[in-house]
């Protein structure tokens, strides 16, 4: 009980004393806020990007690529192979008994950014079963494109990032294309940063007779293997089949690791700086309070409560810094649309950065570690302070 009282009394005194050391305390708070803001911001890119990529993948759908293709952009499926794939077992059917499957084609087109520079975005040609194949896609403005016409619908991220609103015109492949709709997906998805049009119209414009991929809705939980076996046994086909969610996760894994590594690396470098700032400030604080500490020790307070009080001060300042840093990251970056390329073969993916509670917890954890390490040595010094010397009582 006495130890708890001692700790409470010394910690309370220390914290009440903070306003008198406002500038030194601010050094710690601002340093740690900077670390947490940068760390959380970079990690929010990783989280937002992963969500976007993963959001494009559904466990109920399968993606068919040409054999050996690691990415959709590297795949090619001849138009003649499409009926064989569509009629394979394992694919769900609509109420009219037609397979819910689309052959899809990709292209890259250039759009103008606000700064006047151009950027590549993905144009995806889709089929007529799109509403049943991807029910998460819903129009938020305008209408669906009409097959055979140069009409486009645009993902919400592209509208936000490039200003591609209803009625915008884009010129490519010697044609004038008009935006007739804006769509959004129910969860953040890769599709939100793509433009959709009719696949046949796209192939005509690009004078192609092959698709990049086929996306199919699976009939049931065991249908993927059934489909794989059926397509593998067809000697006219040479394709690979993936569950769409698994394929999407694999696509983002490496970039996600790199982003997290960058976040922790930059955060770590800044943390080292903040650590030294905290050390300096807390050493100064202990020095400024040496008479106070020595008086308490003379009265009979133990070294333990004094050590705890310095650590508590450090932790309180660190947590304050973490909350400020996380708040800055949230205000400045949460929902902010940025873009990144999965690979050189693919257009940039626009995604919304996401500051999640999990990232805030990571930021607070980092701040606490900085606070603990930064406070430890000054705390030990405070605990070992020679009482007589600190009371200016030597000789």
């Amino acid at each position: 009980m006495s130890l708890f009282r001692q700790i409470a009394a010394v910690v309370g005194m220390n914290l009440r004393n903070l306003p008198q050391r406002a500038s030194a305390s601010l050094v710690i708070v601002i340093g740690i806020a900077g670390v947490v803001a940068v760390l959380v911001s970079v990690l929010s890119m990783a989280v937002g990007f992963s969500r976007t990529i993963a959001g494009a993948g559904s466990p109920d759908r399968a993606l068919v690529l040409s054999g050996g293709a690691l990415q959709e952009a590297m795949s090619s499926i001849p138009a003649g192979a499409v009926p064989n794939i569509m009629n394979a077992p394992g694919i769900a059917e609509d109420s009219a008994g037609r397979p819910i499957a689309d052959a899809e084609a990709l292209a890259q087109i250039q759009v103008q950014q606000g700064s006047g520079r151009s950027a590549n975005v993905a144009l995806r040609g889709v089929g007529t079963t799109e509403p049943e194949l991807r029910p998460e896609v819903r129009l938020v403005a305008g209408r669906m494109f009409q097959p055979g016409l140069h009409e486009l619908i645009v993902g919400r991220n592209l509208e936000a990032r490039y200003g591609l609103g209803l009625g915008s015109h884009l010129s490519f492949q010697n044609g004038d294309w008009v935006v007739v709709g804006i769509f959004s997906t129910s969860a953040a998805s890769l599709l939100d940063s793509q433009i959709l049009t009719d696949a046949q119209t796209l192939l005509s414009a690009y004078e192609r007779n092959w698709y990049h991929s086929m996306t199919v809705r699976l009939a049931g939980p065991g249908s993927l293997n059934q489909l794989k076996r059926a397509l593998a046994s067809d000697p006219t086909l040479h394709v690979d089949v993936y569950r769409e969610s698994t394929f999407a996760a694999a696509q983002s894994r490496v970039l996600n690791i790199i982003l997290r590594w960058i976040g922790f690396f930059i955060g770590g470098m800044m943390a080292a700086g903040a650590l030294f700032g905290a050390l300096n400030s807390l050493y100064a604080a202990v020095s400024a309070r040496s008479t106070e500490i020595a008086t308490l020790r003379a009265i009979g307070f133990g070294a333990g409560p004094v050590v705890v009080s310095v650590l508590a001060e450090s932790l309180v300042l660190a947590i304050a810094g973490a909350l400020i840093g996380a708040a800055c990251a949230w205000v400045l970056f949460d929902g902010h649309v940025s873009s990144m390329q999965l690979s050189g073969l693919q257009p940039p993916v626009a995604y919304a950065m996401s500051v999640t509670p999990g990232l805030v917890v990571i930021g607070i954890t980092w701040a606490c570690v900085i606070g603990m390490v930064g406070g430890l040595f000054p705390a030990i010094r405070a605990g070992r302070l020679p009482i007589a010397r600190a009371l200016n009582a030597v000789v």
């Binding site: 009282r5 009979g300 307070f301 000789v395």
Partner: protein, 231 residues
């Protein structure tokens, strides 16, 4: 009277860089319980070092220091801290009050080291404030009190846990003559009426005159003693 403080053959050396300085040389001292002792001497004579050894703030290089029946030179740091809490009350030249705490919270500090319940602590603090004549200043912070009043609060803090020994390091060194006189009167009253054993370091002969015994320290040795009937 039995000796409350007993020092035998005490040597204290400090090492500074390559130099070793012997501050106290084989010093012997006995202070009976209930005595008001003044230690006088020039700066650097070793009187404060002697006070630190008696109060358990420092340890001798060699020799025996027994206070209140305990060989305090042999105690560990944590046991010494507990011993100080139980047996010693400190009064410093510059009061050493906690600036963010009110007078009553400053006085209460030593009681936080005991098992006394909060209500009892409050009653004891009120009594101590009454004793030093500051009952109406309980909520004042040190910055709102005069030097003399701050030193009264420091004395109340030193007395609150009813220590065996009161050690005072230049308790009037920062006060004007009238305030100094008040404080010395208070210390003398505590010695005479409550039987508190007091060891006080001072430069001031007038302050020393309030004590019942004066010892002079010079170059680390006790050189002269006088018993007196106090002013």
């Amino acid at each position: 009277m039995t000796a409350l403080v007993y020092l035998h053959n005490v040597v204290k050396r400090y090492v500074r860089g390559r130099q070793t300085m012997e501050v106290l040389h084989q010093l012997d001292l006995e202070v009976p319980a209930g005595q008001f002792l003044a230690l006088m001497g020039p700066s650097g004579s070793g009187k404060t070092t002697l006070l630190n050894l008696i109060s358990g703030l420092d340890r001798p290089t060699s020799g025996e220091v027994t206070v209140a029946g305990e060989r305090i030179d042999q105690l560990s740091s944590s046991r010494l801290a507990k011993w100080r809490a139980r047996h010693v009350g400190f009064v410093f030249q510059f009061y050493n009050l906690m600036p963010m705490l009110s007078a009553e919270r400053n006085i209460e500090l030593p009681l936080l080291l005991t098992s006394l319940p909060g209500a009892q602590r409050k009653r004891n603090v009120a009594a101590a404030l009454e004793l030093v004549g500051l009952a109406t200043h309980a909520k004042h912070k040190p910055a709102e009190l005069s030097g003399g009043q701050q030193q009264r609060v420091a004395i109340a803090r030193a007395l609150i846990a009813d220590p065996t020994l009161l050690v005072c390091d230049e308790p009037t060194g920062d006060l004007d003559r009238a305030s100094a006189s008040d404080i010395l009167d208070l210390l003398q009253r505590l010695n005479r009426e409550q039987g508190k054993t007091i060891v006080m370091v001072t430069h001031d002969q007038k302050a020393a005159d309030y004590a019942s015994r004066i010892l002079h320290v010079d170059k680390g040795q006790l050189v002269a003693a006088s018993m007196q009937s106090a002013v």
